[in-house]
Amino acid sequence: MQRYVHADLKRIRRKKSHFIVLLCIYLIIALIAVYNCSTGNLKEFQNMANIIAGTLTIYFGIIVFFAVFSADTRTRTMQIAIGSGLSRSQVVWSKELEGLILAVVYDAIAALILCLVPVIFHASLPTSFFSAIAVSTIQSILETMVFYNISMIVIFATLHANYAEILYIMFSFEIITGIFTVLFGYLNTQFGFPDLSGILFSSLSASFFADPWNNLLNIVGIAVYLILPIYLSQMVFRKKELEF
């Protein structure tokens, strides 16, 4: 399994366009940080930094998802991996690990930029600023992985990356969350159904990170969002016919 992860990370490292896009995003983040710090508007910088850290799911999540699955499904390397002795379950876990490694590394670099720029500019920021950036980054990584895992089910069910990529984009832009929120609201007001919007991942995550001690049970919900899609991916992939 580690061999597959290692090989894929090596392959991703060789894709120039992947790094050009990454560098552009880091550059934009750095420029925004530098601009806000240099003007001395630290309040504005803190707001901006928190917004950036909270939206890493969109830019880095999409990049990670494309990097892990796009070329792989096109070249059918999964078939080679399975034919060379990996089990299907190991393939799913390999993809999960790859996504996690890339999401953590890319998000952490962005967070590091947001934290380093004010230090370089000798801006006196409260410790709470740095912890807020850390929490937002962790929240983004979790969100990325949940959306990644759910979209992964589509990959293993269809072996086509395109549908899953669209799904990931819809998740990251909160389109699907929005649809469910509206649906649950409608069911609640029209038919008296209990309001289920609290069980959406965004709600569970937001309330947990806002007040962890009073929302400890949310961890169970978050874990279900993380693990259940992996299990479902394995299920749909177990007997999937793989073409040459």
Partner: protein, 267 residues
């Protein structure tokens, strides 16, 4: 007695209501060069896919090197298509597969590229011709000295020299490394030159197994060659014993003849 490295026992595979493999029984012996022939849709590719774990089957057992676990497939090298990344060179693509297969020896890449005649090619895969793609696919299959080699239509797109090179390579690997090789091909004449045992797949079963020696024994005809001008009246003249016989040649049944006699159809 020969040792079976790949054994299929009563393997049944269906796509919906359509049964593609109808109880396949096949044993590939260690050191064989086994040719699998059959018309399109006969079940050759499905058979390979089930061996490689890419296709689930409803009934039967597939044993590789005595075991049925997925890890038993690690000794198989296989060529099934164009599994390469456009933006990487041949070396980089093979480096990817070396890592995936856990091959540490970096000289391995040069070794296999040399074997298939691609050493020194530094262009990206997207610029490869069909023949180069085939060669790279075979190189990938050869990484790490596999015990068993499965090649699905390996000479498609190769020029006659390329076909001869691959044929010689197969024979060399079989003779020097004792590699067990399974090849499927539509080019029966070529397969006849390479393999020593053949399995004829027809309508989801192995309709017959035959060896190179069996083919030689199947000499059915004595070919009497007569001058072209005498051909029309040859039968009559033979009866009359009055014609000049230019040559008498033994003609062995070709694999192609055997195949068409068995499964029907036209050459």
């Amino acid at each position: 007695m020969s040792e079976g490295v790949i054994c299929l026992e009563n393997v049944v595979k269906s796509y919906g209501s359509h049964q593609v493999l109808k109880g396949v029984n096949l044993t590939i012996n260690r050191g064989d060069i086994f040719g699998l022939v059959g018309r399109n849709g006969a079940g050759k590719t499905t058979m390979f896919k089930t061996i490689l774990g890419l296709s689930d089957y409803q009934n039967g057992t597939i044993t590789i090197n005595g075991g049925t676990g997925h890890e038993n497939r690690s000794k198989i090298g296989f060529f099934i298509g164009k599994n390469f990344f456009d933006y990487m060179t041949a070396q980089q693509n093979l480096d990817y597969y070396c890592t995936l297969k856990g091959i540490k020896d970096k000289h391995e890449i040069e070794r296999v590229l040399d074997l298939v005649g691609l050493s020194g090619v530094n262009s990206k895969y997207k610029n490869f011709s069909l023949g180069m793609t085939q060669r790279l696919g075979i190189a990938n299959a050869l990484l790490g000295h596999p015990e068993i080699l499965i090649l699905d239509e390996p000479v498609n797109g190769l020029d006659p020299q390329g076909i001869a090179d691959i044929r010689n390579l197969m024979k060399k690997l079989n003779a020097e490394e004792g590699m067990t090789i399974i090849i499927s091909s539509h080019i029966l004449g070529e397969l006849e030159h390479t393999a020593v045992r053949f399995g004829i797949v027809n309508e989801g079963v192995i309709a017959a197994e035959i060896t190179e020696e069996d083919l030689q024994k199947q000499k059915q005809n004595v070919n009497i060659t007569v001058n072209e001008k005498d051909a029309a009246g040859a039968e009559k003249l033979l009866h009359d014993n009055g014609i000049e016989v230019a040559a008498v040649t033994d003609v062995a049944t070709s694999l192609e003849d055997y195949y068409f006699n068995l499964v029907g159809g036209k050459k």
